[in-house]
Amino acid sequence: MSTTKLARRAGTGRTGDKVFSGAALGAGALIVAVLFAVALFLVVQALPTFSAPAADITGGEGFFTYIFPIVIGTLIAATIALLIATPIGIAVALFISHYAPRKLARGLGYVVDLLAAIPSVVYGAWGASFLASQLKVPYQWLAENMGWIPLFAGPASSTGKTILTAGIVLAVMVLPIIASLTREIFLQAPMLHQEAALALGATRWEMIRMAVLPFARGGIISAVMLGLGRALGETMAVALVLSSGPLIASLIRSGNQTIAAEIALDFPEAFGLRMHELIAAGLVLFLITLAVNMVARWIINRHKEFSGAN
């Protein structure tokens, strides 16, 4: 009697183990399969674009001439977003993890996480109808006083719907991702190291610089890369905020366009070759994101041995 019970118990244990490992394997394989299927779809659907005569492509000068400006536009918007969001995000995270009183920290953490839950179309509407009109005057000032820098060459946009505005909106959207991920990393920094630094007479900022930031470097880069992924792929907010146009260096004039917004705006009425073109644009965005993530992985791996983790 007891032996059968034991055997049965052992049996269930093994089954559970098998089921779980199978499920885990399935989940792992599924993500690869989905990624592969997406890539395959993009490549197959994009192919007609590459075999079509250059004159038939939008702009009339081939796919490269068509895609180049919007690739650069995408990178400009994402760069602005990260330049703004990374320092603020890290500062917010450090404040929550190391400076704020515990009660305040918890509330603030919730608020930051809530920012991530707002749908992007709401950010877009806010950017287009509120932020843009608020930025008209600063842009005017920039054009008048800093116009000699090509980035701020005038005349400033009269609606304020420029790539800089889009970048700022993206920064707000990316901020909660960077802030909440880095906060978790900072909280995991080894207490012993921090206490040791303080015991040796370091100020709080020195302690953070010596014991927290080096430990968190890999995590910060991962967080920034996740934020970059969102900034690169963000569609609705950019489509609503940006008054698009040809590629220009000035950030305060209407112009530039991002891949995701271009697809969102033109896909509903696209058919035939135009549709394949837009899918090809999607493929390019896919490849950019892939490349960015691989570079990030490489940086993280290179810095692994220097981090405080070991």
């Binding site: 287009a128 109808s129 009269s158 609606t159 209407s254 705006l265 509903p268 696209a270």
Partner: protein
């Protein structure tokens, strides 16, 4: 699990369809009497009609769907607004029974439609007219008289200020400020842009050198925004902005341009748009039942407003079975009836077809028959 689920849905649908059909047969006499103004085709029809195409008519289509389905309780209309091009492509591929399109089928599309629609191909029937307003935001100015050349110059950035001599000359009474003009156009591909650029290309030949297109020429300066509501909002918020949009979406906060037609200036109204469409000629070399209209954007007919968008219902000339033919004819007749046009005007502020054009369009729909 999934199969079971689908099975269940199918069962529900079947039961539902049976119930609907039952209702339909019960009410034949009653609805036949009630629907004298609407589906004048007589007896009610049953079945599901599927279409796809232009998003510009979605509001009107929702009204037509509701009106048609309440007059024919056994019938159902499905319409997915995926864009004019997608609609024409789907009809040619035989995936839908009708398409909505802001442009009639091109000659080569008519040829390719013969494969699924039979040797007589497809027919284009105008069923929705919408005037395009040129709207601007200049404080204290609610109406301006402008000719096509001036409008084209403004949208090309050649005229940069509201106190320009060309604007002043036509509007001696208006107090025009020293204010920069900001042209605002659509950032997405749209039938409104296509019809507006068509108007400019025809009426201001020497100034507007770009061909008509659903995408605004990217080389031109100016701001843009997404969708009709986007351009109207941006214009309302920007002093000195000017844009073009479906008249239904333009609010009282903006001034409207009166277009120069012949020697007079015509303000935008539904009637003026219908007059312009009446002045259009039918494209030649097509089947007798095809009502593809070539709009004369340079018309001098009194009271015509030539910046209009005409949307077409695209049908096959023949369908394989009588049930589909009845359904298509009944729906087409309903849309073109006074009631259908009024519902669209209420829902989407479109301009109803004139009686003459509606009669011609109904005759076209009536010609649809079963393939031999």
């Amino acid at each position: 699990m999934k199969a079971l689920h689908i099975g269940r849905v199918a069962a529900v649908l079947t039961v539902g369809a049976l119930a609907l059909t039952a209702c339909g047969t019960d009410n034949v006499v009653e609805t036949g009497n009630g629907a004298t103004t609407g589906a004048s085709a007589g007896p009610t029809v049953t079945g599901t009609l599927t279409g796809t195409g232009a998003s510009s008519i979605s509001a009107a289509m929702d009204a037509w769907k509701a009106g048609f389905e309440s007059a024919n309780s056994g019938a159902k209309v499905q319409y997915s607004p995926e864009g004019s091009g997608a609609g024409r492509k789907a009809l040619i591929a035989g995936a839908v029974q009708f398409a909505g399109s802001d442009a009639y089928l091109k000659d080569e599309e008519l040829v390719s439609a013969q494969e699924k629609c039979g040797p007589d191909g497809a027919i284009n029937v105008p069923w929705y007219i919408s005037p395009i307003t040129v709207a601007f935001n200049v404080e204290g100015v609610k109406a301006l008289k402008l000719d096509a050349d001036t409008i084209a110059k403004i949208f090309r950035g050649d005229i940069k200020n509201w106190n320009d001599a060309a604007i002043k000359a036509a509007n001696p009474d208006a107090t025009l400020p020293d204010l920069a003009i900001t042209p605002v156009h659509r950032s997405d591909n749209s039938g409104t842009t296509e019809n507006f650029t068509d108007y400019l290309a025809a009426a201001a030949k020497t100034v507007w050198t770009d061909a008509k297109s659903g995408d605004w020429p990217t080389a031109l300066p100016g701001e843009n925004a997404k969708g009709t509501s986007g351009v109207v909002k941006t214009t309302t918020e920007t002093a000195g902005a000017i844009t073009y949009a479906d008249d239904s979406a333009v609010t009282d906060a903006l001034g409207k341009v009166e277009l120069k037609v012949g020697d007079t200036f015509v303000p935008v109204t539904a009637e003026a748009a219908a007059i312009a469409v009446d002045a259009a000629t039918v494209v030649e070399g097509r089947s007798a039942n095809d009502l593809s209209l070539k709009l004369d954007r340079t018309t001098t007919v009194a009271g015509a407003y030539p910046a209009v968008l005409v949307s077409y219902g695209v049908f096959c000339a023949h369908y394989p079975d009588a049930a589909t033919v009845d359904l298509v004819k009944s729906f087409g007749t309903f849309v073109l009836s006074d009631e259908g046009q009024k519902q669209a005007a209420d829902a989407a502020k479109s301009a109803p077809l004139s009686a003459a054009l509606a009669t011609k369009a109904k005759a076209s729909v009536d010609s649809i028959s079963v393939a031999k």
